[in-house]
Amino acid sequence: MSVSQAAADFPRLAYRRARARAGWGLAVLAFVLVAAPLLDILGLVAARGASAISPRLFTTVTNGISGGLLNAIVGTFVLSGGALVLGVPVGVGAGIYLAEFGSGPFGTVVRFLSDVLTGVPSIVLGYFSYITMVIGLGWQFSALAGAITLALMIVPYIARLTELSLRQLPVSLRESAYALGAPAHTVVFRIVFPIATPGVLTGVLLALAISVGETAPLIYTAGWSNYLWNGRLTHEPIGYLTYVVWSFINQPFASAHALAFAAAFLVVLVVLAINIAARLFLLGHRAV
């Protein structure tokens, strides 16, 4: 349909305009339906946690039902950081393979199994780690068991999201590089990866968000500690924010509830901070 034809055909144009307006209306409505619950949740969390937010939260450890959350904040960074250190190389590596060389049967099978792995309930991975690492290897509740469990959870997400973002790039880009005689690793790291970085980063951040928000698998692997992490990877339980959210809400004290919501607020804040930092880093990188 050409412009002149449309202009001549007024009722048809009016119909198309109405259709477009309705379409945008639906798109905006979809966004509102998604954004409204989030704002409501954040409002709820902020309102109920506000009374517990104070500098002490960041300077002292949990003491019974009061005190601060320093141990949990540090623990969340350690566990999520550990999960990323373990999970990103594997996930991104697998994602690159699937996108660049994964058209054969091996790639198809891995892609399929990776999607199956995302459907494994986190508690099953937690119990798996509990039996194999906490008890089997005798690590007891520990940062390592917790971080590995989280890594198991996030690897398939990182792999598939990396793959999807690499695949989105036009084939011509790769073909021209290969035509110039560039080896595969050069094509991947110099050509494809830099362009796909925002997408890959989005995937990693999404996986991080998922790992920071988990409770169930960590109760069986990281345990929980009221004290600051002492740096031991095994034989020492470690705290984390979502534990506070889950178990402090189940106590009959108002101070515990405030602390629980403050912890929930912090979880969101921590990931938000990482998100924004990563985006700024990316912007800076692009400018250069």
């Binding site: 259709r19 477009a20 379409g23 798109a27 905006v28 979809a30 966004f31 339906l33 998604v34 954004a35 619950p37 989030l38 949740i41 709820l44 190389p89 594997v90 590596g93 697998a94 699937l98 060389f101 099978v109 891995v110 199994l113 990776s114 999607d115 199956v116 792995l117 995302t118 459907g119 494994v120 309930p121 986190s122 508690i123 099953v124 991975l125 119990y127 798996f128 039996i131 194999t132 198991l152 398939p156 997400y157 999201l161 999807l164 973002s165 989105q168 080896p183 595969a184 925002p198 989005t202 920071v212 928000g213 409770t215 959210v245 979880v267 969101v268 990931v271 938000l272 998100n275 924004i276």
Partner: protein, 323 residues
Amino acid sequence: MRTSLFRTGLIGLTGIIPGILFAVIIFLALYSWPAIRFNGAGFLIRQMWSLGNLYANPVTIGATEVPIGAHYGILVFIVGTLATSALALLIAVPVSIGVAIFLAEGAPPRLRPLLSLIVDLLAVVPSVVYGLWGIAVLAPLVAHVIAPALGAVLGFIPFFAGGSPTGFGLLSSSLVLTLMVVPIITTTIYSALQQVLAPDKEAAYALGAMKLEMAVGVMLPAVRGSIIGAAILGLGRALGETMAVLMVSGGAINYLPTTITSPISTMASFIVSQLDSAEQDPTGMAVRSLAEIALVLFVITIVVNGIARMITRGLHVSLAGRG
């Protein structure tokens, strides 16, 4: 030589994923083997689940020691899992596409980073917080507004009739799952939409397409693969989610849902809710049966993924044929 080293390295990293999966499957299979033998195929089609009397001396049935009255059937949880995930995806996929198009083409460019951050944040909210919000806000909303409205409009279909006194159940669980799945699907589609090449878009405009017509007619088909991949990822999250669903599902046991607001239980949430008591079973059969549920969930995930792939392959072919 370096090329092959590079590829070998990638294959090594990639191989870790099936490695993890097989380790977990073998662990579950070995661990649940006594339960598989004891429960037989009826495990999948029985509606009743009972840990039995954990405080009396166990009895020996066949060669297996189990608590008196122990009876493991998971049909209710299979149905709950499939129903919540299907309903959640049914809502989440169109919503995500709408949001992604809005973000990519509709929203003012300067606002886009902020708006897409809002969507990302949905993934950050801990699942327990979704549960708390579900209990405090969503369930009452379903009970007093959404369920009555659905009943008034679609009440002639029995599935939508009946209302819900509590709001805890299938619909609330699916809505919570929808919120948890939307960021995964939206983010993936949105970042794919951003990669659509300008010449393709310009070609559509040159033909006189409006912005939305261009987005729907050119951009969406271009990112079809990403939409499908994202939906499958979202499906995985929905099938495996535990805490949030547990808190708003109404924890149905021993009966099947009859309406969209009936209480349900999903397999993942049921495992969490029973694990603590199961650990008190001196024969260990309860925990092993829970491991068997996890194994069945694996099989279901594999089957559902397979079906999703078959459908989408058909879609690819038909779209290609049309194009």
